[in-house]
């Protein structure tokens, strides 16, 4: 039965059919599939499938990424309240757009996917000063700071990721907090993440959770 649910859910997601995906999940729960299985065996593998499709060059589009994230977050939120025990949190992430940047779509896609992965996300909103990224990450014991920037000057500028890196270095936090960046300029220049001092980047909002999970695990492996 679970195989049918997975197939129907993935088809609905690829077709950006939110109502259809929610119906598949609702029917599955009625038929006895556990909320835990919905999240860990349907939703999360569904995200992995989308990332795989993107990485293998299948034509996907921003609307699909948006709906994949939206559906995953919606289903996860509905299922979490039905869990027998609260799930283990994989890690903590602070996210926002770079200073001077007001574009929110990419950030929203990333947040939806992270929530479905059991990652605790704090959204600092738009036009976030570098100091706030670092202070909040310290206060919330986050392993990753995610900086989204859609414009060249906010991606490369001194007050964005570059300053976050500088502060992490000055405060001796580089081994405890990793910096991940994303946004159009990074797609047009795949080496740019290094120029701004980030540890990792993602080509799109859906794939970002992979880079972020890798960073969380790296921090945890080093004992923090």
């Amino acid at each position: 039965m679970l195989d049918d649910v997975i197939k129907a859910y993935n088809e609905a997601v690829l077709d950006t059919d939110r109502a259809g995906a929610l119906q598949v999940v609702s029917d599955a729960v009625i038929r006895g599939v556990s909320p835990e299985d919905i999240v860990f065996k349907v939703v999360i593998p569904g995200l992995d499938l989308m990332v795989k499709a993107i990485s293998e060059g299948f034509d996907t589009n921003l609307a699909q990424h948006f709906m994949t994230s939206q559906i995953a977050a919606d289903v996860t939120e509905k299922m979490l309240v039905l869990f027998k025990a609260p799930p283990q949190i994989l890690g903590r992430v602070i996210i926002g757009t770079a200073a001077g940047d007001l574009h929110t779509l990419g950030k929203r896609i990333v947040i939806g996917c992270l929530k479905a992965q059991m990652i605790d996300v704090t959204d600092l909103g738009v036009n976030v000063p570098a100091e706030k990224f670092v202070n909040e990450a310290v206060a919330r014991d986050a392993q990753v700071i995610g900086v989204s920037a859609m414009m060249v000057h906010t991606a490369r500028g001194e007050n964005g990721a570059v300053k976050v890196r500088k502060l992490l270095k000055e405060q001796g936090l580089e081994h405890k907090i990793k910096l991940v960046v994303g946004g159009a300029p990074f797609r047009f220049d795949p080496e740019l993440y290094k120029v701004v001092g980030a540890d990792a980047w993602a080509e799109n909002g859906v794939s970002a959770y992979k880079a972020i999970i890798d960073c969380i695990q790296e921090v945890k492996q080093h004992g923090h």
Partner: protein, 348 residues
Amino acid sequence: MVTSLDRLIAAANGKIIDHIPVFCNLLDQGARELGISIEAYFADGEQVAEAQLRMLEKFGHDNVWSLFYVGKEAELFGCKKIRYADDGPPNVEDYIIQSYDDIKKLNVPDDISSHPKFAETAKCLAILKREVGGKVPICAYLTASMSLPALLMSMEKWMELLMMGPTDMRDLLLEKCSDFFRKEIDAYRKAGADVLVYADPYGSTDIIPMKLFKELSLKWMKRDLEQGGSNGVVYYGGGARLNGVLEQVIREMDIQVYYPSPLEDIGEIMRTINGRALCAGVINDIRLLDWAPDEVRAEVRRIVQDGLREGNKFFFGTVLMPYGIPDANIKAMVDAAKEFGRWPDSGR
């Protein structure tokens, strides 16, 4: 003497007079040229025109721009707050649509030409027309009805409405944006713009699924352009790829010029167009921030030769050049495009 407009008309007819047209989209750089802040620069249409003419003289490319910044269109709808940067383009800070109710209240201006927020653009265009009209293509940037909502309510909220919201609100907004577009293109034509860049990221299957492209983008594209026609119109995906929709747009629209993404294979695009329209070979201009002039030259050579190998209905272009690109790289790019795009030894 051959003019830039002669070159463009020749290219549209599959001919090269001396070299291919070289479009270099310099906007914020005008402030640097005049030694003033970006905010002060865009406050005055005379300054924008003066800088466009100075940069034309300095770099020797084949076009000038009447675009100040993309958020100007939101200002025509009533946006009150633009966020300026020291080193990049101004952005919309106050989205005038905050709720679906605001869509109902949204007013399309009666007349764009006489709109106070169009006054500086009109001033700029009048100067450009007087100084280089009929000799150098004067470009205008117009956002398609399918993409304009992103400037009025943010990309996030437009995506939400498009994919999950009430269709009556979506269609009402698109109708208002299309009404606006028709008036805007008319105003730009009357003011002297002759190259009308039709910017439609939501007309690319990088952004929306093919199903929506067919159901919405194509439908609204037709409505946008049916009244004023597509003379001088350039189809541009705002950096998004065009190849997925190119065949359909060519077949169903009368658009004669295409401006693909720098991330697309220009040879493949030219083969898809197959001589039916003029096409730009676009450089990934963000890289010009870091490349040395020799690297710029090599990349321009690759693009121009790959394009011309497939036919002469071809010109060279940039995206919206980032502010920090050194002058030496702009010069190297323009010079290389002229050199490798010259007739008759253009590398074919």
